[in-house]
Amino acid sequence: MSVRRPFAWARWALVGPAILYAPAALAHVQRGEAAGFLTGLLHPLSGLDHVLAMVAVGLWGAQLGSPAIWLLPVCFPIVMAFGGMLGLMGVHLPGIELGIAASGMLLGAAVMLELRPRLALAASLVAFFAIFHGHAHGTELPPGQSALLYSVGFVLATGCLHAAGIGIGEVRRWTWGRSLLRAAGAVVALGGVFFMWRALS
């Protein structure tokens, strides 16, 4: 008598693709063209201070609604890239770590307090802080990376973090969601305070 084993197909459904999934073996580092895309993609995710601020931009954009919901996440990567360009060119900016920590504090506080400034002011604030984040990324680039692939990965990851923030921010449609959003803003602000304390100590 044959015995039916539930989920046997599911195991094969996992094993099959695992066998067929054959990414390129990055066995040899090519000169000047190391794994730039992945490094760029992972770089903004590697620091919680960056992640908090970038998600907060999305949260605030969602809270403010149109047109800020798309203008802020467009503004941030472009100005961040400008900051990254300054960092790459070796232009010194003072207080980078303080600026990054302040971005978490102020953007988190804006979400927590549901601040609704004029669009130009909100965009200027976001743009101002983006310079610090970009500069930090620009100066921390490891050597031997493909510049273009690094840049594309770096911008893509930033955009995805904003999108994640906007996605989370859409809970504003419900009454409980608005409270949750303000609580999320408070968490970001607290994170900013922690990073500020660490930068000053």
Partner: protein
Amino acid sequence: MNRGASSRAVLGLRGVALATLAVPALARAHLNSTGMGPVYDGVLHFMLSPEDLLPVAGLALFAGLRGDAQSRRALFILPVAWLLGGLAGSAASATSGSPFVSAAWFLLLGGLVAADVRLPQGATVALAVLLGLSHGWLNGTGMGDVGTAMPALLGLTASVFVLVALASALVVSLHAQWARIAVRVAGSWIAASGLLLLGWAARPR
């Protein structure tokens, strides 16, 4: 099928799977050549060259935002210009592209998409011609003489055609405001990549 035969079959399948995993095949870590001939090498070159891929995507998105008439012109003019530039480049001596030029194209096309600038049709055509000629030229200079380069250039040109067709047709079909905004956001990312590339090119060594 009885239970013994069934478990033998399962064991056999697992044996095949394990043997497949254990085969020590060559890593083929370098994707410089498809092994399928120069036409496919040209296709692959384009697909693996973001400095070519992103400006073409940028132009396709921009033409798509401007409507079907401009998209149709970009669809046919860009690949033809690319092929002509490539043929001219293959007849010239080898040169290497400047990252400043790539950065400029990223900034220009990404900026046009992000700002949703309403350019006249002639300007879009001029952009397609210039982009095709300059990038085609750079591709062509690294491909040897015209006879050798021609099949690879045809593959490359076909890829340009396909990308413009897919991307611009997708954008033309978008009517929801949020979807068009998403396209503009993509444009801003192209421009941001251009800014970073500019910084990389200008960095002190």
